[in-house]
């Protein structure tokens, strides 16, 4: 396509058009995934609880997410009387932008990534820490006790678990020797097991638990505990502002699944001993492997939600600070020692 456009346009504009097209494709497909993640979640949880899930709108209820979106779009937009209006308007936007801009550094398959930057992993951390502002500010600006308590809970939870998540990925950085997400995937393909989840099993465990806490999912969904806090930090939001929080949360889940797929499960590649055994798998496009891993991780999110009860808040903090952070520090020390050991032997 670049050759076709290059025939009658200067190269600088061709590049711009290609980048804009990539962004449009990623956002469109990403949001479609978010919409159908809600449908899929309701189906999965329905069947796990011996119900059928949505089935009225369209064949098998497939149009349900679209009906939900239309409904949210036409709902009345209610703003509490004493709300801090500028921050009340701003916080869902901050939350959603922080979630969706993380998509820009994720490599979906070989050489398809919007921004191939050297600090990809750090960019993801930066964006996920920015999301905490949307939560705290929405809780504060709503001028409601439920929202405020939910916001405080969520922010302290996100900040605590961000530390363990960052430390759990340091092992991956050490093994790959890079912060660039595409390089991490390529390093994994060179590695004998093909996936860092095998040697980095401690890091993978810490990452998975932290990912659940980061996205406010069960069993760590205390900020949104309905029985105590109505809906947590977005209690006072309605209409499309609520939808932005909802979209941001599901985008966050997809981002977490993508990070685990890229950093621990091999991204768009599959282990080489598998392709040596079954050579025809080489012809399967990489995006399918990537999506398969992301879908499995999303299913795991739903499965845990349908299975486990909620933790108490002090238990949540104790797990984060007393179990996960020491474990991830231990993982860093072990990985570094093993790496130096192997370098000494070679």
């Amino acid at each position: 396509m670049s050759a076709f456009l290059g025939a009658f346009l200067p190269p600088f504009i061709v590049q711009l058009v290609i980048i804009l097209l990539k962004i449009a494709v990623v956002i469109a497909i990403g949001l479609l995934h978010v919409a159908y993640a809600t449908y899929w979640e309701r189906k999965v949880i329905g069947h796990m609880q011996v119900r059928l899930g949505p089935r009225e709108v369209g064949p098998f209820g497939l149009l349900q997410p679209i009906a939900d979106g239309v409904k949210l779009f036409f709902k009345e937009d209610i703003i509490p009387a004493n709300a801090d209006k500028p921050l009340f308007y701003l916080s869902p936007v901050i939350f959603f932008i922080a979630a969706i801009s993380s998509l820009s550094v994720i490599p979906f398959f070989e050489s398809f990534v919007i921004a191939d930057i050297n600090i990809g992993l750090l960019f993801l951390f930066a964006m996920s820490s920015l999301g905490a502002y949307g939560i705290v500010l929405s809780g504060w600006s709503s001028n409601s006790k439920y929202a405020f308590l939910g916001g405080l809970r969520s922010a302290s939870q996100v900040i605590s678990y961000e530390i363990s998540m960052g430390l759990s990925l340091v092992g991956v950085m050490l093994m790959a020797g890079s912060l660039n997400l595409s390089d991490i995937v390529r390093a994994q393909h060179q590695y004998p097991t093909g996936m860092f989840a095998v040697p980095q099993f401690i890091g993978f465990f810490v990452f998975v638990v932290s990912a659940f806490a980061e996205t406010n999912r069960l069993p760590f969904d205390l900020p949104e505990a309905e029985s105590e806090l109505v809906a947590g930090y977005f209690t006072e939001y309605s209409g499309f502002r609520f939808a932005l929080f909802f979209l941001g949360e599901y985008t966050g889940m997809i981002i977490m699944s993508s990070i685990s797929s890229i950093c621990f499960l091999g991204g768009w590649t599959i282990p080489r001993f598998v392709t040596d055994l079954l050579p025809f798998l080489n012809y399967v496009p990489g995006i399918l492997w990537f999506l398969l891993k992301v879908y499995c991780f999303m299913f795991f999110f739903y499965w845990v939600r349908a299975t486990l009860p909620r933790y108490r808040y002090d238990q949540l903090m104790a797990i984060g600070w007393k179990l996960l952070i020491p474990l991830s520090l231990l993982n860093i020390v072990i990985t570094a020692i093993v790496k130096i050991w192997f370098r000494g032997m070679a």
Partner: protein
């Protein structure tokens, strides 16, 4: 030309945002302007090819320290806070000191000589990636100052724990 425009934009916006931070009546709004200022500082680092520092600026300052500021500010009684004056009575004295500092800096600027450029040129940093170069310099040439800084931080952590810990009755 474009690089000078970028620098001018960042410098001007950082100054305006800093003024907004200190003059807002509502402390929560001050914190938000400060967040925007931190992002502009990160942009400035990116512009200097220091991508790692830019990311750390956002993660540490915007993502951790400023969120803790926000926590403290949220727990203040805002109704009282909005009544009090922004500045204490002796602010003209502070202004005089700051202005004289600025003047002496401008006077000193004339005798400014750029230091000799070391082996780390922009081409090398772009080839080796900024993170790797920074790590190598930090852990070889500047290992001793780095360890001293870590020790000072450790002392601060232990001090905070000692202060915060309740006295156990024996």
């Amino acid at each position: 030309m474009i690089s000078q425009l970028f620098f001018g934009y960042f410098a001007a916006v950082i100054i305006i945002l800093s003024l907004l931070v200190v003059t807002r009546k509502n402390p929560v709004h001050s914190v938000m302007w400060m967040l925007l200022m931190f992002f502009h500082i990160a942009g400035m680092y990116l512009f200097l090819n220091a991508e790692f520092i830019a990311a750390i600026q956002v993660i540490v300052y915007a993502g951790a320290i400023l969120v803790l500021f926000l926590f403290v500010v949220l727990l203040l009684n805002l109704r009282e806070e909005l009544q009090t004056n922004r500045f204490i009575g002796s602010w003209p004295a502070g202004l005089v000191i700051a202005a004289s500092l600025l003047l002496s800096m401008i006077a000193a600027l004339r005798s400014f000589v750029p230091g000799p450029s070391g082996p780390y040129t922009i081409a090398l940093i772009e080839k080796e990636t900024h993170t790797r170069v920074l790590g190598q310099v930090l852990y070889t040439e500047y290992l001793f100052p780095f360890e001293i800084a870590s020790l000072i931080l450790l002392v601060a952590i232990i001090g905070a724990i000692v202060l915060a810990k309740k006295k156990v009755r024996s």
